[in-house]
């Protein structure tokens, strides 16, 4: 099993390196490389997680991962984009209208990550304006080789940098099923995402800053005008 995983890693890395897989047509789950306009860009979100902090039950953790299927050899060169703002949108209204009442806004500049909020957005919908008047926490962006860097202010923590992709799925077999060349999954399956990395942003904050739950939440990436 371990040997198989290692072989797949190498195989995947080789395939990516020589460009056999056309990323534009290679459908990736969860949302890895899901759409032509963002494929291969820092704005391509792969996964969104929201969970109670394993180390403090008063806190919630948001994870937004981008730039999926990074081979280890490609990870040191991967970077966030200073023209892309990452946003966690939070609907804490009682009627759940799925419009954002609070936002966490994440920007990247000169090797640093900044998180603004949670704060009420200036405008809701497709356009976003950076709100710099509320909470702010900053950290160095972690590097591939270095130890993880984190920042904390007002009980809000941030990490930004390369991490193992936490997603797992036998995507290749799923594609065969959908294409009609297989009738089902294998047991054991093969994790298509084993051995690959993502560019990750992790934010932990007091639940009390999010209003009363349950909330509806979603992640967006947004390009500077």
């Amino acid at each position: 099993m371990k040997a198989k995983t290692t072989d797949l890693r190498k195989g995947l890395a080789v395939l990516l390196a020589i460009g056999v897989i056309s990323s534009a047509t290679y459908l990736i789950a969860a949302d890895h490389i899901d759409a032509p306009a963002v494929t291969g860009k820092a704005s391509d979100i792969t996964d969104f997680y929201a969970f109670e902090s394993p180390s403090n039950s008063s806190n919630l953790v948001f994870v937004v991962n981008t730039q999926g299927l990074l081979a280890p050899t490609a990870t040191a060169a991967a970077a966030f984009d200073s023209d892309v703002m990452l946003e966690v949108n939070i609907d804490n209204s009682s009627n759940k209208d799925n419009m954002e009442d609070l936002v966490l806004q994440v920007t990247f500049e000169n090797g640093k990550v900044q998180v603004y909020g949670p704060v009420a957005p200036i405008e809701k919908g497709l356009n976003s304006t950076l709100v710099t008047t509320g909470y702010k926490v900053e950290s160095d962006i972690s590097t591939y080789a270095g130890s993880p860097m984190t920042g904390e202010a007002n009980g809000i923590k941030v990490f930004a940098g390369p991490r193992d992709d936490p997603f797992f799925f036998d995507l290749d077999q799923y594609k065969k099923v959908i294409a009609g060349t297989a009738t089902g999954f294998n047991n054991p399956g093969t994790d298509t995402f084993a051995g690959t990395n993502v560019m990750s942003v992790v934010i932990e904050l007091p639940k009390s800053l999010l209003g009363s739950g349950p909330i509806n939440a979603w992640a967006t990436t947004n390009r500077k005008n």
């Binding site: 459908l27 996964d47 200036i122 991490r163 979603w218």
Partner: protein, 174 residues
């Protein structure tokens, strides 16, 4: 009266213009952005949105997604599983895809936060949640999760690296 207001407006406009043209002004111009990608629940765009619609879906806000994509999601579900009746949550095709086509993640602020742990349903998403198997069961497993057994589990049950107990929780890169 009117004239006074006009004068005030004119003064205000001059002040505003002055502020914009003053390089030394301490107040920065607002920085604005336009949405480029969006996601909440895992694999929704990948599974339910056709190749030609993927960018449009990412550029649609959640409150507008059901109206724009609800019928397409239902058609896609019935194409993937023509035998679909209801699923483990008791949802018929229209109700299930109605929920899925508004791509937000419901998150509890008290109690368990999990995609599905046998008891709690859609109260968040943990790193180790086997979200794909949950989604496969809801897509293919029928009302009691026993239909299409070859399609309801990809038999990849965990990540290839263990998660950390402390911030930032995700494992170090490969």
């Amino acid at each position: 009266m009117k004239l006074k207001y006009v004068n005030l407006l004119a003064v205000g406009a001059l002040i505003a213009l002055g502020a914009c043209n003053n390089d030394d002004d301490a107040t920065p111009m607002p920085v604005t952005y336009v949405q480029e990608d969006q996601m909440a629940r895992p694999a929704i765009n990948t599974v339910f949105v056709s190749a030609g619609d993927k960018d449009t879906f990412n550029g649609t806000i959640p409150s507008a997604q059901n109206a724009a994509f609800g019928t397409k999601f239902k058609d896609r579900l019935l194409a993937l599983n023509p035998g679909y009746t209801t699923n483990l949550l008791g949802l018929d095709a229209a109700t299930f895809t109605g929920v899925l086509s508004t791509d937000v993640l419901s998150v509890a602020l008290s109690g368990a936060t999990t995609f599905y742990d046998g008891t709690h349903v859609l109260t968040g998403r943990k790193l180790n949640d086997d979200v794909i198997t949950v989604e496969l069961i809801l897509l293919f497993g029928g009302p009691d999760a026993t239909a299409n057994p070859m399609l309801t589990d990809d038999h990849v049950d965990a990540n290839d690296k263990g998660f950390l107990d402390t911030f930032p929780y995700l494992a170090t890169p490969h």
